[in-house]
Amino acid sequence: MTFFLQQLVSGLAAGGAYASLALALVLIYSAMGLINFAQGEFAMFATFIAWTLLVYLHVPYVLAFVLAIAFAMAGAAAIERLIVRPFERGPQLGVVIVTLALLSIVNGAAGFIWGYIPRAFPTPFPQSPVVVAGVYISIQDLGVIGVSMISLGLIYLLFNRTKLGLAMRTAALYPDSARLLGVSVGGMLAIGWALASGVGAISGIMLAPTLFLEPNMMQQVVIYAFAAAVLGGIESPLGAVVGGLLLGVVLAMVGAYVPALADLRLAVALLLIVGMLVVRPSGLLGQVHTRRV
């Protein structure tokens, strides 16, 4: 039982990080109907920025965290404005290719600047575990869960309790009406990209201490995030969070109890993606759309 609970906590911690990245994907998908294949690379790059601030410039952790997220947000907004914009209304293949190009460029740029050697990433949380009723729980895991949940909560409040959030939702759902009401739809999309990149960066920074930092760090994580987003419903932010946590726990349990499948976690994610898309494309918490043919 204690083993189970420990796995549960570490699963939830990984799941929290998947949930953040999945939320990033969902934010962009629900605003623009496109999937940003470079989302994981954006997160990786921001994590490298945080690493540079922490290790080279000895900036305090909280400040480095905030600065890296700010960098990720500004960078993503600029990329949306300058590069993605001309392709938004075109065929989907065009947008897919553009985000893949971004994936290559950001990945290569990180490789050029920081190299391909995996690096240890500092964590602000104490290494010693706490013991609750005989169960050893790592504070690192609890901290990751806490940070993920706080950031996801803030996103929720932003969308549901602020004027900006209302404008963003209007711009996504009814772009024409939004324009008539004086909402800058283009600006809202850029803010959407910025927010997505921000939560993605949190995911990267939270995962880096356990995964080790290198340019390909997020490549598997982004598949888990896709799986989480599809599981919960790619248009449902709440679904992304639930899907991420669920996936984190499932993968932790698979790793712990079915060792034969431990190397096949990616395949589990793939089956989940294909299976969900075939059986219930709208996900667990999404709304069903219908289209003929």
Binding site: L93, V98, A267, V274
Partner: protein
């Protein structure tokens, strides 16, 4: 007198005399090439042809039938394993394993085509992306069959004649296989099937109302595409002499897509150009920067492919093939002369996946 109205040239239509002449010259160049370059370069040319076959397959699926795939590399890996296992466990001659790998992959592609029927556009991209990332870990798993992390070592190809070096002999095999594949594609795409593919790509509802069976043509496109990927994978494995899942990372799938886009999606010559691009581009960009900075050189292939992809998307969405086509057309039918002579044709409306 006004020139005869030009037809939009589609694969399979009767080629013009100029086109036939050009193809004949190309064939001579292709056969002569391995004798004109330094010995080891013949192997590089072979790799470029192998990539061209792979991109041809990707092009049929994405460029012609409009189904986005980011998982083409997975089928290459399966083809390579199929060929290697048939050679190692069943003792088949390597030449026989090439069509075998094609058939194995074709069947698997056909099977994958069924769930893919329910996935549209971006969802299909997502599923195939996951396939590309997951494939290497899955293929490594059954160690008894695939050799796990160690992979499978294949005997080198030896030339049966003293007239050709081993590399030149292998090049001739690749050239023949590529020629057959492109000819097959030309025939398939020019006929009823090709029209059905393009109709589905340009508007599936319209295609259905014209009597195109969406499900069978979409899965057929998957099968043909995977068949070609299997053949390319088998050749790739034989060329490397070593089959290991790590040689087929998801970056390979992206590299193939890059080649297809830069060459020109939805054209046959684009697939050929793309093969050369995706094989030589990473090497050239790495080589060019090696003396300046190793770290820069290691990152160069990824960055250049991304930047080139963006450049193509911004300035020439039809790729190099599209640029060549529109320039040939411009030479033939110059735009409005000053004397206002009639009969100049406007460039044909190019339809394509982008």
């Amino acid at each position: 007198m006004a020139p005869a109205r030009t037809q939009v040239r589609v694969p399979g239509s009767r080629p013009s005399l100029a086109m036939l002449g050009f193809l004949a010259v190309m064939a001579v160049v292709a056969v002569a090439a391995p004798f004109l370059v330094a010995g080891y370069e013949a192997l590089n040319l072979s790799y470029a042809l192998i990539f061209a076959i792979a991109i041809l397959g990707l092009n049929i699926l994405t460029g012609y039938s409009g189904q986005i795939t980011l998982g083409h590399g997975a089928f290459l890996a399966i083809g390579a394993y199929a060929s290697a296992i048939a050679q190692q466990k069943m003792g088949l001659n390597f030449l026989l394993t090439i069509p075998l790998a094609g058939v194995v992959c074709g069947l698997l592609g056909f099977a994958f085509g069924f769930p893919a029927l329910r996935l549209e556009g971006i969802y299909l991209a997502l599923a195939t992306f996951a396939l590309a990332v997951a494939a290497p870990t899955v293929l490594k798993k059954p160690e008894g069959i695939t050799g796990g992390v160690k992979g499978i070592i294949l005997p080198p190809v030896t030339s049966p004649t003293t007239l050709l070096t081993d590399d030149q002999f292998f090049y001739m095999i690749c050239l023949s296989v590529a020629a057959v594949c492109f000819l097959l594609a030309w025939n398939i795409l020019g006929g009823r099937t090709g029209r059905a593919f393009r109709a589905i790509r340009d508007g599936d509802i319209a295609a259905v109302s014209f009597g195109v069976n969406l499900a069978s043509y979409k899965t057929l496109a998957f099968a043909i595409s995977a068949f070609l990927a299997g053949i390319a994978g088998a050749l790739y494995g034989i060329a490397t002499g070593f089959v290991s899942a790590d040689a087929y990372p998801f970056q390979l799938s992206i590299l193939l897509l890059v080649g297809a886009v830069i060459g020109g999606l939805g054209t046959l010559e684009g697939a050929l150009l793309g093969g050369f691009f995706s094989w030589y581009l990473p090497r050239f960009s790495q080589q060019a920067l090696k003396n300046i900075n190793t770290q820069l050189a290691n990152a160069a292939p990824t960055v250049t492919q991304g930047v080139l992809l963006l450049v193509v998307m911004f300035v020439a969405r039809q790729g190099i093939a599209g640029l060549i086509r529109s320039n040939i057309h411009r030479l033939r039918y110059p735009v409005q002369r000053d004397d206002g002579a009639p009969g100049d044709e406007p460039p044909p409306e190019q339809t394509g996946p982008l």
